[in-house]
Symmetry: C2
Subunit: 184 residues, 2 copies
C-alpha cells in the first residue's frame, strides 16, 4: 500500500494514451484499485488529466535534461534523448500527442504549453545544431525530424507492448532507424 496517487496517475497515462475517453473504471482497473479510491484522490476526469499532464512534464523534462547533460556532443545527446523518450514510454507518447493534436489550441501563455515548449525547445536546439553542422540531411526539415522522432518512439513503445520484437534489441533498432532516417 504505497503511493496510490502515483499509481493511479501512471495507470491513467497508460489508459488515456490508448483511449482518451476511456471510462475511469478502466483506469481504476489498471491501477488495481476501486473507482471509489480513485475518486478520493481526484475530483474528476479533469483533475486526473491535469495530474497526468504534470507527471508527464516532470518525467519527460527530467529525462530530456539528463540526456542533454550526458554529453557535449549533440549526436550523443540526440541518441540519449531518443532512449529517454523510449524509457518514458506512454508518458512521452501521450505528452507529445496532447500537444500536437488538431483540437489542442497551443498558447505560450498556458503554463502547460510553456512547459511543453521548454522540453521541445531542448530537443529543437540539438536538431538545429546538428543540421547546421551538416550531420543531419539538408533534404528534410527540422519539423519533420521532430515528427519522425515521436513516430519512432511511438513505434518502439508499440513494439514493446506487442512483444513481437525482443525488448533488448528495441532501443538499438530505434536508434539505427532514426539516425539513418535523418541522414546520419
Amino acid at each position: 500500500m504505497q503511493n496510490t496517487q502515483q499509481n493511479i496517475v501512471d495507470a491513467a497515462i497508460l489508459v488515456f494514451n490508448e483511449d482518451y475517453s476511456a471510462p475511469l473504471e478502466k483506469v481504476a482497473e489498471k491501477a488495481a484499485v476501486t473507482r471509489r479510491t480513485l475518486h478520493r484522490y481526484f475530483k474528476g476526469r479533469d483533475e486526473l488529466l491535469a495530474s497526468c499532464e504534470q507527471e508527464m512534464q516532470r518525467s519527460c523534462n527530467h529525462a530530456m535534461t539528463q540526456a542533454l547533460a550526458s554529453s557535449d556532443n549533440p549526436l550523443t545527446q540526440l541518441e540519449n534523448m531518443l532512449y529517454a523518450g523510449v524509457d518514458c514510454g506512454a508518458k512521452y507518447s501521450f505528452f507529445s500527442k496532447l500537444h500536437t493534436r488538431a483540437e489542442h489550441q497551443h498558447s505560450p501563455h498556458n503554463a502547460d504549453c510553456a512547459e511543453y515548449d521548454a522540453v521541445y525547445g531542448h530537443y529543437r536546439a540539438v536538431i538545429t545544431r546538428l543540421q547546421a553542422q551538416g550531420t543531419i540531411s539538408q533534404h528534410i526539415t527540422a519539423e519533420w525530424v521532430a515528427m519522425l522522432f515521436s513516430g519512432v518512439i511511438a513505434a518502439t513503445i508499440n513494439a514493446e507492448a506487442f512483444g513481437s520484437v525482443a525488448k533488448k534489441s528495441l532501443k538499438q533498432f530505434a536508434w539505427f532507424s532514426f539516425s539513418k532516417g535523418i541522414g546520419i
Copy 2:
C-alpha cells in the same frame, strides 16, 4: 446530400482513430450531421465500428494491392505501399492500430483478422524478399520493419494534420526516412 452513410463512416474513422471511446455525438459533428441521422444508418456503436472496419479493409487492401501491382521490383513496391498507407491516412492508422493493440485478441478464424492478415501478408512478403536479397539491413528484424512502417505513416499523417510540414514534401520525407531507416 450525397452518400451520408459513407460520410459518417469516414468521419468515424477520423474520430475513433484519435479517440476510440469518443461519444457518437462527436462523430456526427465531424460528419456535419445530427446524431439522429447517424442512428438512422447505424443501430449503435458496434455496427458503426464494424462498418469502419470494413471500409478500412476495403480501402487499405485496394491501395496495397495497387501498390503491389505497380511493379515487379520489390523496392518500388515497398515505396508505393508506403505512399499508399499515407494516402489511406487515418484508415491505415486505425486499421493497424486496431489489430496490434494489447486488448485485441487476434484469431485467424475471425474474418476481420483474416482480412488484416491478408493485407499484412502482402507487405510481409515484400519485406522478406528484400531482406533475403540483402537490400534491407540484417541488423533489424522484419517485425521491426513492420512497426517502423506504421510508425512513419502515422508520423506523416500527424505532420499533415499539424500542418508544420509542407504537404508536398511529406511523402518524400517519409520515404527518405523509412528507406534509410531500414538500411537502404
